[in-house]
C-alpha cells in the first residue's frame, strides 16, 4: 500500500456535474451495459446453465423413448410432434432462473451502487432480463441440436424455422417479467423457484405440449384454449412442420404483450420498494 501515501489522488480534478457529457438514450445504453454484466456472470458460472442445456436433452430422450411408442405409435412421429413442445416448455422453465437470481442478487450491495448512479432506475432489471436472451438462445440451439441427432427434421424453410425460434425467445423474455416480479415479492429464492414451478407445471401439462389438445378432458379445454403455451406450441409446430397454425402466432404475441404490460410495471414497482 505504499502508493497510497503519494500526494497524487485518485480523484484528480473534479468534473463539475454540468460539464458531464450526457449521451442520448440512457435507458437503452445502460440496460445493454448491464446485460453485458449478466453475460460475464453467466460465463463465469457455466453450471448455472444446466437448466437450459442438460434439461432439454434429458426431457427429449425420456419422453420420446418412454412415451413415444405409447402416445404416437412410433418414436419418430412423436419426436416430430414433441420437439416444439419441449422447446416451449424448457424455455419457459428457463425463465424461472432470473427471478431466483435477482432475489439473491438484490440482497447484495451491488444494487445499492446501481441506485446511487445517475442511470435510469429500471436499467439494472432490464439489463438482467436482456442478458438472459443468451440462455434462451442456448436452450433453443440445444433442443434443436439434440432433436436433430435423434432424427427430428424441420419440414418448412429456414426462415419459418427461425421465426419459430424467435417466437419462443420473445415469449420467454415476456414470461421472465413474471419471474422477476415474483423474485421481487417473495422473501427467499427457494420460494421464487417453487412459485414459478407451480405456475409453469400446469401450463406445460394442461396444453398440447405432450399430447394433442383434443385428447384432454373437456372440463380442461377452456384452460387449454387460453394457455399461452398451447398457442406458442401450435405456432412453433406450424413454423417448424407446416401444420395448421390458425391464429396461434397472434395469440402468442398478444400474450407476450399482455405479460409485459402487466408484469413489467409490477416488477418495477416492487423493485423500487425493495431496494
Amino acid at each position: 500500500m505504499t502508493t497510497l501515501t503519494q500526494p497524487r489522488s485518485p480523484r484528480l480534478t473534479p468534473t463539475p456535474a454540468a460539464a458531464v457529457n450526457r449521451r442520448p438514450f440512457p435507458l437503452v445504453r445502460h440496460s445493454l451495459s448491464l446485460a453485458k454484466r449478466s453475460l460475464i456472470k453467466t460465463w463465469r458460472t457455466p453450471e448455472a446453465l444446466i437448466d437450459v442445456t442438460l434439461q432439454p436433452a434429458i426431457f427429449l430422450v425420456i419422453f420420446v423413448y418412454i412415451f413415444g411408442g405409447a402416445v404416437a405409435g412410433d418414436t419418430h412421429t412423436y419426436l416430430q410432434f414433441l420437439l416444439p413442445g419441449i422447446l416451449a416448455q424448457t424455455i419457459a422453465t428457463g425463465a424461472i432462473a432470473i427471478g431466483v437470481n435477482l432475489n439473491t442478487d438484490l440482497e447484495k450491495g451491488i444494487f445499492d451502487r446501481f441506485k446511487s448512479l445517475p442511470i435510469p432506475r429500471s436499467s439494472p432489471l432490464i439489463g438482467a432480463v436482456l442478458g438472459d436472451v443468451v440462455r434462451y438462445v442456448i436452450v433453443t440451439v440445444m433442443t434443436l441440436g439434440i432433436g436433430y441427432l435423434m432424427g427430428f427434421r424441420i419440414l418448412t424453410d429456414p426462415v419459418s424455422a427461425l421465426a419459430g425460434c424467435l417466437l419462443a425467445v420473445v415469449f420467454a423474455l415476456s414470461l421472465s417479467w413474471v419471474s422477476v416480479f415474483v423474485g421481487m415479492k417473495v422473501r427467499t429464492s427457494g420460494a421464487v423457484q417453487g412459485i414459478m414451478f407451480l405456475i409453469i407445471m400446469p401450463l406445460s401439462f394442461a396444453s398440447n405440449v405432450f399430447v394433442p389438445a383434443a385428447s384432454l378432458p373437456s372440463w380442461m379445454q377452456t384452460f387449454v384454449a387460453w394457455n399461452p403455451l398451447t398457442h406458442l406450441v401450435q405456432a412453433m409446430r406450424g413454423l417448424f412442420l407446416g401444420t395448421p397454425m390458425g391464429e396461434s402466432v397472434y395469440w402468442t404475441l398478444a400474450w407476450c404483450v399482455g405479460l409485459v404490460a402487466v408484469f413489467l410495471p409490477l416488477a418495477m414497482r416492487a423493485y423500487r420498494r425493495k431496494v
Binding site: T3, I110, D112, R113
Partner: protein
Amino acid sequence: MTQDLVIEAEGLVKHFGETKALQGVDLAVARGTVLGVLGPNGAGKTTAVRILSTLLVPDAGHARIGGCDVVKDAERVRQSIGLTGQYASVDEDLSGRQNLVLFGTLLDLGRAGARTRAAELLEWFDLTAAADRPAKTYSGGMRRRLDLAASLVGRPDVIFLDEPTTGLDPAKREDMWDVVRSLVTDGSTVLLTTQYLEEADALADEITVIDHGRVIAHDTPEGLKRVVGGQTLEVRPSDLARMHDTATILGQVTSGAAAEEIRKGVLAVPVRDDSALTATVSRLASAGIGVTELSLHLPSLDEVFFSLTGRTASEDDRADTTQKEVA
C-alpha cells in the same frame, strides 16, 4: 453560518414500521471538509447516508447535496456523489477491472474513458495485480479498496463512506485513513460514519454524534474531547513493587492528574497533549522502571456515550436487536 455547505440536511425523519430510524436529524458539511457521524449500531447512521445518497426517501425533512434536493433533484445529486459502505458494493462475480469499467460505462465515461479510469484507480489502490480476478477472491482490505475505488470512478465532489474501516485490522485502517485524507486534500467533501471516536478524531473536521435517530452532540473533535475526556495514558510497570513510583511520575508529567489503577497492575491517567507520552517514557527510564505495556487511548464509543447521555451505548443495544441497521 455563511460557509459553503455542500451537504445540508434538516429534520430528517425515517420510520420503518415500528422502528424509528431517524427522528429529526440535522447535518451540515462545508466544502472540502470531513464530517464524522459517530454512533453505535442501530443509531440511524446508515439510514441517514442512504437518504443523502438518494437511496431512500425521507418521511419528513429535506436534504440538499451541492444545492440539489435529494428527492426532487435526485438525478443531479447522483451525478456528484460517490457511495462506499457496507451496502453499496461491487459485483463479486466480476473482476475488479470489470466492475470499475462497468461503473465507468454507466457514468458515461465512454468505453475508452472507462478503461483508462479503471486502470488509473486499480493502480492507485494497488490492485493492478489482482485486477482480473473475481472480486469474491479478494481479501477484506482489497475489497474495501475496490469498493472505495468504485465510488470514485465518476470523480465525485461528495463522498459518503459508511463505516469504511469496520472489520479491518489496524494497519489496513491506517491505509484507508490515508486515502480519505488525500481525497480531502484534493477538494472532496466527505461524510463518514463510524463507531470509533478514534477514527472520527483522526479524519473529521467536525463530529456529529447520533443515537436513537437523534443528534445528541455536534462539535469539533477538540470540543467533543473536552466534553468526553481526551486521551488516557495506560502504563503497566513490569515490577508491581514500583506501582507507587510509577503513579508519582505519571502525576508529575500530567501536572497533578491522579493516576488510577484501572485494572490489576495497570495505571491510567488522563493526558492533555501528546508530549506526555515521551515525557513519561524518559522519566520512567531514568527512574529505572521497566514497563510491559504503555499506550494512549481515546475514549471508546461506550465512554463517549456515557459522558454524553449518562448511559453506555451497548447497555441499551438493544432491546430489539433485530432492528440493527434495518435499512
